[in-house]
């Protein structure tokens, strides 16, 4: 570069670089090696007097040979849609990036379970299958010494979830209710208050969480024959819409004149109904809520 400047060598159009040129960008072209080529730039010495160098990419700028499905497995509900993506290592920047644009053709292993329209996976029926994409990617890096356009077909599992049950994700609070607690029991009564965060789970073993925001959850409650605390059953309220990743909160408890001294227990059946944002209505497994003066449990938890 310094020689071009000092000797004022013209290019094919007769233009020369200014003698006081201090900085600028440039592009190298390999005119004889067709295809990806084998010429690459690395370190450029820009000041031989005082010492200054600049570094370029210094390697072949292809992608890794093993692109992957970003969502692995990809989860969707029956009738629901989920956007899939393909990622790979960009050897030029050593970072993982989306290469979705290089994969125009998509499919699934079993159309009875899920279908693919470009990168949108649609659940058809509960179960598991695969999703795959086909495309051509320029593959290569510093160690390969060449970058080749390579046909690739990354794939991964698809899981079409069915709302089946719910689980306690975390406990928010749990304490004895008295006439001075918040919330409080009426005069001459005591009981227990508990609040938990819940999420709907799927049909798999072990169950997977369904992180669907916008599901509408309603509950029905009924007394069992075990009612030593002489409680009236709770009255259900309006349904709630899940948020924050498929979560809802459940506050449950009781007050009665037998607590805190009674060792009795009352069991209630609690059944959630889930209406996912993708459609359908699912009655989840019934849980037993056990109420005692010393605590409330949900299926023993």
């Amino acid at each position: 570069m310094g020689k071009l400047i000092r000797q004022r060598m013209p290019d094919k159009n007769g233009s020369v670089l200014p003698p006081d040129l201090m900085m600028g960008s440039y592009e190298l072209q390999d005119l004889t090696d067709r295809g990806v080529g084998n010429l690459y730039e690395g370190k450029v010495i820009v000041d031989k007097t005082y010492g200054h160098v600049a570094y370029g990419c210094a390697q072949y700028c292809g992608y890794g040979v093993d692109p992957w499905m970003y969502w692995d497995p990809i989860l969707t509900a029956t009738g629901g849609e989920a956007d899939q993506d393909v990622w790979d290592m960009d050897n030029c920047t050593s970072s993982d990036v989306s290469v979705l644009d290089y994969f125009p053709d998509w499919g699934t292993g079993n159309h009875a379970i899920a279908t693919a329209s470009v990168h949108v996976i649609t659940g058809v029926a509960p179960g598991s299958t695969t999703n795959f994409a086909s495309g051509t990617l320029t593959v290569g890096g510093a160690s390969s010494y060449k970058c080749l356009a390579t046909p690739l077909q990354p794939s991964g599992p698809v899981n079409v979830q069915v709302p089946t049950d719910s689980r306690i994700v975390s406990q928010i609070s749990s304490y004895a209710m008295t006439t001075t607690s918040a919330p409080a029991c009426p005069s001459k009564q005591a009981g227990w208050y508990r609040q938990v965060k819940k999420i709907v789970t799927d049909q798999n073993t072990p169950p997977g969480d369904i992180t669907d925001d916008g599901s509408v959850i309603s509950e029905s409650l009924g007394l069992t024959t075990t009612n030593q605390l002489n409680l009236a059953p709770p009255n259900p309220f309006a349904p709630v819409t899940t948020s924050g990743g498929g979560y809802c909160n459940d506050q449950f408890g009781f007050c009665n004149p037998l607590c805190p001294g009674s060792s009795g227990q009352t069991d209630l059946n609690e059944t959630f109904t889930d209406k996912p944002s993708s459609g359908g209505t699912y009655t989840l497994k019934t849980h037993t809520l056990a109420y005692t003066c010393k605590g409330d449990t949900d299926n023993g938890n």
């Binding site: 009255n235 924050g244 506050q251 809520l289």
Partner: protein, 244 residues
């Protein structure tokens, strides 16, 4: 067992007063509530209860509705209100429901039938002890208040509750009341910001009213479709809080 004998034997003319059936008893004209102007409200071939609830929500007027079968099946053929005082608008609504009257109770507009069953009046005038609810969703506060109401209706029994909510559910401010009637409790609950409505199912026997909470509260600020209460008595009806 109900244990408040002092309310037995309420005579009919007291019923009207208890239910606030005194549309003819004009509230004080200086009441700022009545100085508000309804810019526009229309209800054409719309079921009456959802329309009244919509009126309350759009104008941020807390409401109470004492349901009966007639109201549940009634519809407004054509109500058109343009730039009218609230009182005129309410009169227009109630005039389309011949058996109903409205009144302002504890800051809440209550629509009630002229011939409400005695048990309904008795329930609304039932005395409950002083009680407070913490900041929570309106549903949760309703559940807590029901603990207290039921404790006065059946002091020997307990009451369970279960309330679902989400992180996005609106929290209502705490409310602390001294000794009050059930109606005052309901009025005070829905009379706070952001406003709401209570709906009372028909009550023919106050003993049965204690078996299952006979009222439902609606939060004006919560979008969605709410199923109206007492479907076994009134059929399935719903009220949409989603603005068109």
């Amino acid at each position: 067992m109900a244990t408040k004998p002092r309310l037995i034997g309420v005579v009919p003319f007291l019923l009207a007063a208890i239910l606030g059936l005194g549309a003819g008893l004009d509230p004080a004209p200086e009441d700022p509530f009545f100085s508000r102007i309804v810019a526009s409200f229309n209800a054409v071939d719309e079921p009456a209860v959802p329309a009244i609830l919509r009126f309350g929500r759009e104008l941020s007027i807390p409401l109470g509705i004492v349901l009966d079968k007639q109201l549940s099946s009634a519809s407004f053929k054509e109500i058109r209100i343009e730039h009218a005082p609230v009182k005129v608008a309410l009169d227009q609504l109630s005039s389309a429901l011949p058996s109903y009257r409205w009144s302002l109770e504890h800051g809440t507009v209550v629509f009630a039938p002229l011939d409400a069953p005695a048990a309904t009046a008795r329930f609304l005038s039932w005395a409950v002890s002083a009680y407070g609810v913490p900041e929570d969703t309106l549903d949760a506060q309703t559940a807590y208040e029901w603990l207290n109401i039921r404790a006065s209706l059946r002091p020997s029994e307990g009451t369970a509750f279960s309330v679902l909510s989400s992180a996005k559910s609106r929290k209502w401010p705490p409310l602390s009341l001294g000794p009050a009637t059930v109606e005052e409790v309901l009025d005070r609950l829905v009379g706070r910001n952001p406003g709401g409505a209570w709906i009372l199912c028909p009550i023919n026997d106050i003993e049965k009213a204690a078996e299952s909470r006979p009222f439902q509260l609606i939060d004006y600020s919560t979008p969605g479709v709410v199923a109206l209460p007492c479907p076994d008595q009134l059929g399935n009806a719903s009220y949409s809080t989603i603005r068109p």
